[in-house]
């Protein structure tokens, strides 16, 4: 079982690779919509990437209001 920190780190790596930004520019508690400059359709891509990588299902409604990587990691962690 991954630790919460490992999950968070993997999410940062996935986001950095998918949106082609240096991982060091991504911070766990910052608003990823602003940091990545992504719209709703790209957010769905990130959701799909996370589901495919962690082999989990993340219902969209559980992600309403989630805008930082740490909160996102918590949502993933409870489904691992």
């Amino acid at each position: 079982m991954k630790t919460a920190e490992e999950t968070l780190d993997e999410i940062l790596s996935l986001a950095a690779a998918h949106f082609k930004v240096p991982k060091e520019k991504l911070h766990p508690d910052e608003d990823f919509f602003k940091t990545l400059g992504i719209n709703s359709l790209q957010t769905l891509d990130l959701l799909t990437k996370l589901e495919n990588h962690f082999h989990v299902e993340l219902p969209d409604y559980e992600l309403q209001g989630v805008s930082d990587f740490r909160s996102l990691a918590e949502k993933v962690q409870v489904r691992l």
């Binding site: 919509f33 709703s40 769905l44 799909t48 495919n52 969209d60 992600l63």
Partner: protein, 267 residues
């Protein structure tokens, strides 16, 4: 069938395979221009379908297959005219798009939706009219209509119910959550999941295989196994129009159109 390049969709035929490509930015939202071009395609399709063995529908846009109905156009049009006239316009739009989708659904050749990315609402319904859905692993499927106070109106529920168990249909319809391609394949919605950017290639390979079979036999097999749920499709139009008359819908559409939310596509 001569190749045709419209403003929002294009089609061509090669080796007995018709390809219909969607290309309206940002994500192939289906509005009045899309409907007109779909109707033009439908007319041409009827003339050529006896000579072809497969139809592939796909999107040329990176964002996805199709994000569904053009809600901005729907809202703006409904605001510009009297409510009764808007209601008549909605029914007319639904009747027309049902005719196109019923034609694709019942076509005497095999139809394949090659999807990627967003396959939501009306886009999902377009895919459901096809015989096979081949999805790239980044595809997502969703019926977000309930957040607007509506149900899917392009035949989605009867067609989904035809293909899947009622529990899955209720989950998708009542929660409005989206499914990824792997889950969609697991529940029986998608026939093949392929790598990113590979859906059209896989659809072409499937179409080439279909070309090896006798067309009359293939058409008979399809007709036998894929009944068109006409009665439920008709009831869906009536229910959609009944719900559209409620203030909830106007409020929901306004909220969507005016939203600065970073996630307006998420239910």
């Amino acid at each position: 069938m001569s190749p045709s390049r419209g403003s929002v969709l294009s089609w061509s035929v090669s080796d007995g395979v018709i390809e219909l490509a969607l290309h309206r930015e940002p994500c192939n939202e289906l509005g009045s221009v899309s409907l007109e071009e779909l109707e033009r395609f439908a007319t041409a399709f009827q003339l050529v379908q006896a000579e072809a063995h497969a139809l592939i529908i796909h999107s040329e846009l990176k964002a996805g297959f199709c994000a569904g109905a053009d809600l901005r156009e729907l809202y703006q049009r409904s605001q510009a005219i009297e409510k009764a006239e808007a209601a008549r316009g909605v029914r007319d739009f639904l009747e027309r798009i049902h005719r196109v989708l019923n034609l694709i659904d019942a076509a005497p050749l095999t139809t394949i939706a090659a999807v990627h990315g967003v396959t939501f609402g009306g886009g999902f319904e377009l895919a459901l009219a096809c015989d096979l859905i081949i999805a790239d692993k980044m595809a997502r499927f969703c019926f977000p209509e309930l957040r607007l106070g509506l149900i899917p109106g392009f035949g989605g529920i009867p067609r989904l119910k035809r293909d899947l168990g009622n529990a899955v249909v209720r989950d998708l319809l009542l929660t409005g959550r989206s499914l990824n391609a792997a889950k969609a394949q697991q529940v029986g919605l998608v026939s093949q999941v392929v790598g990113e950017g590979e859906a059209l290639r896989a659809a072409r390979a499937a179409a080439a295989q279909l070309g090896k079979f006798d067309r009359v036999t293939a058409a008979a097999a399809k007709k036998f196994i894929k009944p068109i749920p006409h009665e439920e499709l008709r009831r869906e139009i009536d229910l959609f129009c009944e719900l559209f008359a409620r203030p909830t819908v106007e409020n929901g559409l306004r909220k969507f159109v005016e939203s600065a939310d970073a996630q307006p596509y998420l239910p």
